[in-house]
Amino acid sequence: MKSDYVLEMKHIDKSFFGVKILDAVDLHVKPGEVHALIGENGAGKSSLMKILMGIYELDAGEIILNGEKVKFHNPKEALDHGVSMIHQELTPVLDMEVSENIFLGREIKHANAGLMSLVDKKEQREQTASLFSKLGIDINPRLLMRDLSVAQIQLVEIVKAISLSAKIVIMDEPTSAITDKEIETLFEQISRLKNEGVAIIYISHKMDEIFRIADRITVLRDGHLICTDDANKLNKDQLIMMMVGREITEFFPKQTVEPDDVVLEVKNFCQKKKFQDINFSLRAGEIVGVAGLVGAGRSELVECIFGITHPTSGEIYLRGKKVNIRHPKDAIQNKIALVTEDRKYTGLNLKATVEHNISLVGINNLASYGVINRKNEAVAAEEQIEKMKIKVFSRKSMITSLSGGNQQKVVLSKWLLTEPDIIILDEPTRGIDVGAKRDIYLFMGELAKAGKAILMISSEIPELLGLSDRILVIAAGRLTGELKRNEFSQENIMRLASKFEAN
């Protein structure tokens, strides 16, 4: 009997140390469809996909691929059966060419002599180039991966997955690091794949994207299957409710705060090749959004304000007084906090506990004569865990045992412990689940109410529109406009953000 489905995962169970993380989960995927898999972090999406790819072994249940019962023991077996995955965290070999990355593990050889075979680099480059031109991608196959942008690396990974002539492609948050323009390219590739009968399992937190491309949607929560249905029968509010298990009436809880005095002024700020002549100010009690395409220089700007890098010219005034910030510690002394974009790389010490991460910046305030008062430290950590609603077993748990959203809350806690007046947030909700997002939004509102000045970089336009009092738009390293609340619209932001694109 031929099934309608290319893939059927039936009654999948999986436990770790007696904790059931998948409980009789079903997933049915039709050929040629985009099947969105959604749920909060920790809902079991990744585990389910890891079972499919042969990274985890299932405890019970079965996987039927093309009507045939299968069980993969490693990702290579999955690949051989036409199942490929684009991971959220990309793992390219940075010192190899683009073409070599595309053909990694299945190199084109001059003659097969096992490990001693010579690789036909020329042929690989030609095939890569023709693949790229077929897909309308403009990347030189001879470039080193190191020299590509994050977005370009993501595209290469996508091309690699496609070139494996897969029947099922799993995409885990493929748009988390790429610009709107590149998202369009990605969606074009997705529809091309669909037409060729390839099924796509699409994991994402971005509702707009899901409704744009998904044919069907499966929702998981706490390891249980909540719903599988056609996308056009569902709406955003229903999905959010199913994901978090309760109704969220207002997703962007905007506090109205009357802005107070100017606390931060940035004047004529320049850094060679990164950004030019940036002028803006920030008032107490205000949330100012910073919009722009990836690579526009937004992160570079805030890193420079914070003293991680140095400006080539320009000045910073705090409450009207000029300050010289040469190192993050100067910024911290001046009551500035920076929640960086990449929490794993620049935010957290992944080898430490939750408590030690929380106390990392503010440790001097918890110590006398350089000796840490451990009782104070414990109290401070417990307070932050409660205040930020960090879901954690104990303050002594390793930070890596937390979900992305809770890790992000730890990063926030660590900065709030220094009682900053100015809080800079760089993509504060990237890759975290809906519940944690809302907690962070609520908290930002409270901070603004308490008179803190907040500068928030975000690539999610709804987030910017929902939370900001003003939005600054940066394009190609220049401030191209400032929008007041009555001028807020996606079109206005995009128009300003792509101002220098044409030239």
């Binding site: 993050p328 620049t346 080898k351 990392l360 910046v361």
Partner: protein, 319 residues
Amino acid sequence: MSEKKTNNNLNSFKELGIFFAFIIILAVLMILSPKAFARPANLINILKQASINGILAAGMMYVIISGGIDLSVGSIVALSGVIAASFAHPGEYPLIVPILLAVLAGSVVGLINGIGVAYGNIPPFIVTLGTMTIVRGVALIAARGQPVFNVTKEFEKISGGFIFGTIPNLVVYFVVITLILAFVLTRTVFGRRVYAIGGNETAAKVSGINVEKIKLLVYTLCGFLAGIAGLLLASRIISGNPTSGQSYELDAIAAVIIGGVSMSGGSGKWYGTVIGALMIAVISNGLDILNVSSHFQLIIKGLIIIVAVLVDIKGKAKK
């Protein structure tokens, strides 16, 4: 609450894995050689044998937790030993002079390592490989290639003496230095920062930590301790030998690693390192008593290092 407790117990059980291994080795040796090995005098002797390596290992632990390595400590032992002995001839200088100069020499080499690593951005392996060779050369030149003999009785007593007539001074130094360093590592802001930069240097910098300064201090501390070790060794062998301390850096690294400190930095416990140093001493002492040739001892020591790390990796993978 009860859940919390179980979890803590579980964690300490894992951490104590090395402790159990140590107990088992002790038990085996006691059974194999109850008369010779388990004598109190021999146990104190083991502590004494562990002391110099234990002091070196404590400094090495700081360096490794900070994400680095220091290959120069063996050469520093030789240099500071030669310097100490050279200024300890009878009737020349008061005892404090050789002591201070030996410690100063070690600290200066450590400081140079620190500058190279922190401000020169040279990989620690390279910097300390360089200074290891240079310092050995300096020691040989300073001693004109020959051991420096003829030191005062007081100098000899630094390591050779006893407290309460039974406990060797060396053991006292080992215990005191270990306790101070354990306190600094676990209870002070400095200690916490050493872990932070080893765990994630970029995050540490963004968090306002002066990474360069901490690294400089860590290498200087390691050199300082190697200076002390050199002084103690010279006193113990009653001479400053420019060829002494060969491969001491490897024994120190071995103790740290057996103790469960991660080579990639950022994690590890001070008592692990102490047990690591004791373990090495117990094994050589036990094998000596059992009449195992020193050539075979090398093989056994090497195997234990690999097994210790293997157990550590498997234990972590289970998490």
